[in-house]
């Protein structure tokens, strides 16, 4: 039986999230104190050694990311709380249950890159989270625990693409939410062209415990190449639709059957999509894969944000993928040609297939388009948008064929 392990959610439901005193009593802000006593270089080295990889989807070593920040007078720490990925509610859960663990993590990063200013970019649909965070920031300011580091909350306007770090930066700057080309990476030229570290909520929330218990401790948890835990959010046809935090060597099967309690209403499993809307669809035969970043990539899927959407035997894969295609058609920012036009055409072709009006040539041309988009689009949205189509064509081709014209 798999067991939960709580690092980022260690205080969840144990302390009053509205009380900084509760957090401090539970050992809070001690890691920051420790970090402040460390040389910047040593602090970055410690985080690098822990091999804490970004929990926002791209899986980049956080310490490594920080180490790219050149010495500069002004640098920024940005927390990505855009959480636009459908089926994902882990960042909201972390912040609602324990906001100070995020603030502490951001302040630790602030010390590492010599920054005095942090921004939290909060999903537009979470106004109550903004309030909640502002309350926590206010308490932290009054207690003086953040030292000379200050944090401000900014709100998104509901665009999925603004979760992409450079579009997020454009949005904070007050521009159209469109990704920038990279390089330069935000670490070198980010917010207002100053060096900026962008990390996900869950990434920051891991930092206090890594500092408290050391990188060796962290590195030994879960999968070797992606150590630690991952917060997963279960949705769809699974009995327990909950958020869990598990070591990263937990398998998909354990997630669905042990933590999720299996499929609802005694039905059979058909597929699971992990990592959000752009995640690959995973068939029964691959359920024994561990959820860590590299294992998932190995089967052509993603860990992404850790959203787990379970589909039972009655679900119509082609219909679901058509809806996903519509999502991307709607959320493409329109900056680059292959995504602006490609997401539109994918949705057009998927609709045609779904209505039983397409021929095999349509599938072929969509496959070609997907292949090009994956390599040619400017940002991760367009590059990942074809994922569900490509993986369902691979694992559930018969469902497409059933709908094609002879």
């Amino acid at each position: 039986m798999g067991k939960e392990m709580r690092i980022v959610l260690r205080n969840a439901d144990k302390i009053d999230p509205n009380s900084i005193d509760d957090y401090i009593k539970a050992g809070g802000y001690r890691a920051l104190e420790k970090a402040l006593g460390m040389e910047r270089k040593a602090l970055i080295e410690e985080v690098k050694k822990a091999n804490l990889r970004g929990r926002g989807g791209a899986g980049f070593n956080a310490g490594m990311k920080w180490s790219f920040v050149p010495p500069a007078e002004v640098t920024y720490v940005v927390c990505n709380l855009d959480e636009g990925e459908p089926g994902t509610y882990k960042d909201r859960t972390i912040v609602q249950k324990d906001p100070h663990t995020l603030l502490e993590g951001m302040a630790i990063c602030g010390h590492a890159i010599n920054s005095q200013k942090g921004y939290i970019y909060c999903r537009g649909e979470y106004p109550y989270v903004v309030e909640h965070l502002n309350r926590a920031i206010d308490q932290a300011r009054r207690k003086g625990v953040l030292g000379n580091f200050d944090i401000e909350v900014r709100m998104g306007g509901g665009a999925y693409v603004c979760g992409e770090e450079t579009a997020l930066i454009e949005s904070i700057e007050g521009h159209r939410g469109e990704p920038r080309f990279k390089p330069p990476f935000p670490g070198v030229a980010g917010l207002w062209a100053e060096p900026t570290v962008v990390n996900n909520v869950e990434t920051f929330a891991n930092l206090p415990e890594i500092l408290n218990r050391g990188s060796e401790w962290f590195k030994a948890i879960g999968a070797a190449s992606y150590p630690g835990t991952k917060v997963l959010t279960l949705t769809g046809d699974v009995v327990n639709r909950v958020a869990i935090e598990v070591p990263t060597d937990t398998t998909i099967r354990q997630v669905i059957y042990e933590f999720g309690g299996g499929i609802r209403n005694g039905k059979k499993f058909k597929a699971v999509q992990i990592g959000g809307t752009s995640g690959g669809f995973i068939p029964e035969s691959l359920l024994d894969t561990p959820i860590d970043f590299d294992s998932m990539r190995g089967i052509g899927a993603t860990l992404g944000t850790g959203a787990v959407l379970v589909m039972d035997e009655t679900r119509d894969i082609v219909d679901i993928v058509t809806r996903i295609a519509k999502f991307f058609e709607h959320e493409s920012c329109g900056k680059c040609n292959p995504c602006r036009e490609g997401t539109f055409r994918n949705f057009e072709i998927m609709t045609k297939i779904n209505r039983g009006m397409a021929a095999v040539q349509d599938v072929e041309k969509m496959s070609l388009l997907c292949k090009v988009m994956q390599k040619a689009c400017l940002c991760g949205l367009g590059q990942a948008a074809p994922g569900p189509i490509v993986t369902t064509l691979q694992h559930f081709r018969h469902e497409y064929e059933r709908k094609l014209l002879a």
């Binding site: 329109g334 680059c336 292959p338 040619a376």
Partner: protein
Amino acid sequence: MVTLTVNGKQIQAPKGSTILEACRLNGIEVPTLCYDPDLRLAGSCRMCLVEVKGRPLFLASCVAPAENGMVVETESTDIVEARRVVLELLAARHDFNCQTCEKNGDCKFQDYCYQYGVKESRFTDGGRHVYPIDDPNPFIERDYNKCVMCTRCVRACEDITNARAINVENRGHKAKIATAFDGDLADSPCVFCGQCVMVCPVGALTSKVSAGKGRAYEVEKVVTTCTYCGTGCTLELNVKDNKVVGVTSNRSEEYSPVNKGALCVKGRFGWDFIHSSDRLTTPLIKENGEFREASWDEALDLVATRLQAIKEDSGPDSMAVFTSARITNEENYLAQKFTRAVLGTNNVDHCARL
């Protein structure tokens, strides 16, 4: 310098060059739509994609730094396939009517479709926008049914003119170039400088004043200086059958040191007076309340005699000279020289002082 291999050939380029710059410096052409060396980079059209060994994604060469030891392919099978798909996606939303298009023969999209053999698009299943072509301003035709969404116009408006009249509105496939609230240019901060027309790589933005008068390949371009004001911008008169049918500008600093191709509404669109039937083409002398045509010699002799007479009768300070910003600096200099040295008065002034 950095050394890299492109299409099997070793090339060198200054440190800090992009892959595109390195290629072009070495005579290797890569297609581009959104790239414009005078504007801030966008990296968005994805025409300039290249394959770089060891990189899982294609790189947009216009924004990717050239690095030592890179192995680059600019026309590999996969790259050509990707470019064709991008062109076909654009073609699916394009209102092809090259036969009547002002840009025929001078259109990057047409050129690239030709180069990559894109006759028709596999992605034409409908969904083409039909935008009205109805901006009533007298200068700029806006036909977004031909727009390739390169945003060069947006960047030129901001980076060169600083008018910020246009930007992208909406997202995704609904994205479109528009003024605030998608209105007419006249109701925006647009100053009708036509910098957007200058940079547009296709027939989406064209001059209404030149419409129907001749294609780029039919005209001779005569480099000259704008006569409207003392700024002295360099422009090119487009001449067809001995008639001026348009004005374009050359952005090379060598040709156009003052304005690098940028013009104002007068220089770019205000040339139709040249062949106007109302235009004076000889001096006129008024006799008995009536004007009659005269030769330059006769007219200048008359002016000289009269000025001489006034100077003798009433003294040089009874005269004053007032010059205009519509003549060049050199002409203004000559006018003040003439006033002081020939007329003998310091009564000289200029409208720019008002």
